[in-house]
């Protein structure tokens, strides 16, 4: 798609950081408030898609290559399955939450029934890994489809 008028571009540039921060907030507080890796990742991916629509795929193609996105996605996926393997090594069973109640990183014990940012155990880490994967994955789909249908027109 070719880019849109400059008004749309400036508005997109203004709103993109806000969308991204909101999405990252959803990812980071996945274990406290409703949301999590998938939902936050989808929000950030929609912000990126907004940029792709506003500025046109040629601009986006120059900025980010599909290869880097699939690398990011593989890293996110490896982080997620790495945490699961760590659970196997340290916690005795595949996917066990070995950080909970151990007062290491993110492992503080929730006091009087209320968890806070630091008590999620492996949950926040998994949220970050999945969030990264969903951002890279969904944006890769949007980008590849845009480039494919774009090639058709001109």
């Amino acid at each position: 798609m070719k880019g849109m008028s400059s008004i749309v571009k400036t508005i997109a540039n203004i709103s993109f950081p806000i969308i991204t921060i909101y999405g990252l907030y959803i990812i980071a507080h996945g274990h406290l408030t409703p949301g999590g890796g998938f939902q936050g990742g989808a929000i950030v991916a929609s912000g990126l898609a907004l940029l792709a629509v506003a500025h046109g795929t040629s601009w986006v193609e120059s900025k980010v290559k599909e290869h880097d996105l699939s690398m990011l996605e593989s890293l996110g996926a490896l982080g997620f399955i790495g945490l699961a393997f760590l659970g196997l090594i340290m916690g005795g069973a595949f996917f066990s939450n070995f950080l909970a109640d151990t007062s290491m990183l993110f492992g503080a014990i929730p006091v009087d029934g209320a968890a806070n940012i630091n008590t999620g155990g492996t949950l926040p880490l998994m949220n970050f890994a999945v969030g990264l994967k969903v951002i890279a994955g969904l944006f890769a789909i949007v980008l590849v489809m845009a480039i494919a249908t774009n090639k058709e027109e001109d």
Binding site: T33, P34, G113, A114, M145, T149
Partner: protein
């Protein structure tokens, strides 16, 4: 009967999805039909976990936790929605390719070629 209205809504969604799938000739409409069918099944999963007068299962730390709806169906629906997105992306990719080959989205292009 009134208590089962949500399940009838689920039945309605699934029937609409199936109708679109079976009777529409355009490929994009078939994909839309599958998405409607999928949202019907998701709605059914969600309605299973509700308890009358319950709130979302978020703990706020005050001792008297109110009656909470079930967390498991909501987790299953999350998975089902992501699967729906994945399947939708793949189906649309294949529809784009079919359009490139045949120049039309009519389902007759898919005829089983038992030549």
């Amino acid at each position: 009967m009134i208590a089962n209205i949500p399940y009838l809504a689920v039945a309605g969604l699934i029937i609409i999805g199936l109708y679109t799938l079976l009777f529409k000739k355009n490929l994009i409409k078939m994909v839309i039909g599958i998405t409607i069918l999928e949202s019907g099944v998701n709605l059914f999963l969600i309605t299973l976990g509700y308890r009358m007068g319950s709130v979302a299962p978020i703990f706020t730390g005050n001792a008297d936790n109110p009656v909470m709806s079930y967390p498991v169906p909501q987790a299953l629906t999350l998975t089902s929605i992501v699967i729906g997105v994945a399947v939708l992306a793949l189906m649309l990719t294949l529809v784009i390719h079919i359009y490139r080959h045949h120049g039309s989205l009519h389902v007759s292009k898919l005829g089983g070629d038992d030549q």
